[in-house]
């Protein structure tokens, strides 16, 4: 029962929280915008408030920029592909009644509980280490030369680590979607002469459309900002420097706040372009 008075009261009571959140968002954004037009290098005591678009020009014209954009897109795209495809397969398996179902489901979800830094360290030192890693033991068991993951295939390694972290999220959402599928639809399709693969293609997959869209949108938002995994493993070397990491390097390693801020603003714009594209491609699944 929202009367006019109660609505006004609600607005008054919500105002502090909204103002705080707005400030929280706007202040850093405006400061970044401000710095991006300034020549600001604190360690050299340089601060010139207005240099126009110089920072942007320098950031975009450096070869590192386009490499980092490509790396970001490859990384995010691969992780999305791996988590969605494997997520669907694992969700289909978990949907089957099995012994110890509850425990298996908790085990599948558990990687999501591990902090990114910790999981990256665990993968780096326990799984992918060329001397003592589990994977190199496996390689040696089969008589092969151990693969030095983070040196020889650094981008692939990081993709694997992050996919491992996000697979539970995808699986969980897709599993709930599969469970909401009406069993009679599958039986009807079976009666209609659709074998298992066609039932998957024509019935289950379209039913999962919306869940897949949600997985892709949410994961993209988080994956564009991957940082800890790169920082802990390769420090951005060997072609693993994403846009986020490049911004970090400009600000903290080169101590050029202006240049980094320009990169940050570009990253925001790029993220929005990606988001609009995604919405266009998959967003129609969210209607109806």
């Amino acid at each position: 029962m929202a009367t006019k008075a109660s609505r006004t009261a609600a607005r008054f009571m919500m105002a502090p929280a909204v103002t705080l959140l707005l400030g929280w968002m706007l202040v850093p954004l405006i400061m970044t915008l401000y710095f991006s037009f300034a020549d600001y290098r604190p360690l050299r005591n340089v601060f010139e408030p207005w240099i126009g678009f110089d920072n942007y020009e320098r950031f975009v014209s450096s070869s590192a920029f386009w490499d980092s954009v490509t790396t970001t897109l490859v990384m995010v795209g691969s992780i999305l592909a791996i988590t969605v495809v494997l997520g669907i397969l694992i969700a289909l398996l978990l949907d089957k009644p099995i012994f110890g179902q509850g425990i298996v489901r908790i085990l599948v979800i558990s990687p999501f509980f591990v902090m990114p830094t910790v999981s990256a360290l665990a993968w780096k030192n326990m799984m992918m280490d060329p001397v003592n890693g589990v994977l190199s033991h496996v390689w040696r068991f089969f008589g092969a030369t151990p693969h030095d993951w983070l040196v020889e295939t650094p981008l692939l390694s990081i993709i694997l680590i992050v996919s491992w972290q996000w697979l539970p999220f995808a699986t969980l959402i897709l599993l709930t979607a599969i469970q909401s599928l009406d069993g009679e639809q599958l039986e009807a399709a079976e009666m209609d002469g659709a074998p298992a693969l066609k039932r998957f293609w024509y019935i289950i997959l379209p039913h999962l459309g919306r869940a897949i869209t949600i997985v892709i949108l949410i994961q993209t938002i988080f994956l564009l900002g991957i940082f800890a995994e790169i920082f802990v493993t390769t420090q951005g070397s060997f072609g693993t420097r994403t846009l986020t990491y490049l911004v970090f390097q400009r600000v903290l390693e080169s101590q050029n706040v202006g240049l980094g801020s320009a990169g940050g603003i570009l990253a925001v714009i790029l993220a929005n372009i990606v988001a609009i594209f995604l919405m266009r491609i998959v967003g129609k699944n969210l209607d109806a």
Binding site: D182, E184, Q185, E187, A188, A189, E190, M191, D192, G193, A194, P195, K198, Y202, I203, P206, H207, G209, A288
Partner: protein, 332 residues
Amino acid sequence: MGQITLNQVTKSFGETQVIPPLDLTIEDGEFAVFVGPSGCGKSTLLRLIAGLEDVSSGHIEIDGRDVTDVAPAKRGLAMVFQSYALYPHMSVRKNIAFPMKMAGVDQAEQDARIKKAAAALNLTDYLDRRPGQLSGGQRQRVAIGRAIVREPEAFLFDEPLSNLDAALRVGMRMEIGELHKQLATTMIYVTHDQVEAMTMADKIVVLRAGVIEQVGSPLDLYHNPRNLFVAGFIGSPTMNLISGAEAEQHGAATIGIRPEHLTVTQDGPWQGTVGVAEHLGSDTFVHVHGTGLAETITVRQAGDVPVRHGDTVRLTPDLSRMHKFGADGLRL
């Protein structure tokens, strides 16, 4: 083409046997209705015939071909589900086309069959809509359309009308009945509603706890119920069942008399007080208490009978229409 024979078929879920050995033959072109209270195994029986459940033992034959181990799609049966089970992401046209697409029917033939089915079911204007945009009755018709285009040996209906409102249910009942006359294909229809069973069936199969209690035509079941269960289940309002001294006078453990075979008279042998009198205009249902025979005796009188709550009435049974049952519940 569509004679279905069940031969010593059983079904168990784990330790529980839901269908003890069962024999049944449904003739080609027959409209058979499985009827019984919830949980009597009628849906399970239908699913066994469809192949959606595997039989635990026994054989199922369609036109003399043993299909016990044949996949559901290869049995040549089409099923209409209680929830309609339409594919929500496909248009009505694609829903109806789906079984033909799976069977690899060529496009021209598909279009022709869809057109024919849509015309027969009044769906022509809705072919490009999604199931979500249709009413319950229309969805039901799409489900039937999807079954028709397969040109099956037999149709299986699993409580298809239970999600519709009462008025629509009567209409769809007629439509399915007419469809059967038109196609002359075997149909098996599962329902818990004995009115649906009585109005539609050529042959009614009354089930209780997985056991066939009686098989027969609707009127056969009405006039000659084989046991107490069938007597109580078929007919509306239900038959008055009286046991005790009155029954013994007629040499039975229980006697049954249908409400329509009782008359309110001045000098009948049974006396009681009117509880509720339901005046429907065409009929009056009088519920009589305190007769000492059974808790309530229901009487059906044609037309409007001037009785009210609290009146004392006398009842005369039509003794020639009385059913007598022994102590084992079987008809004498």
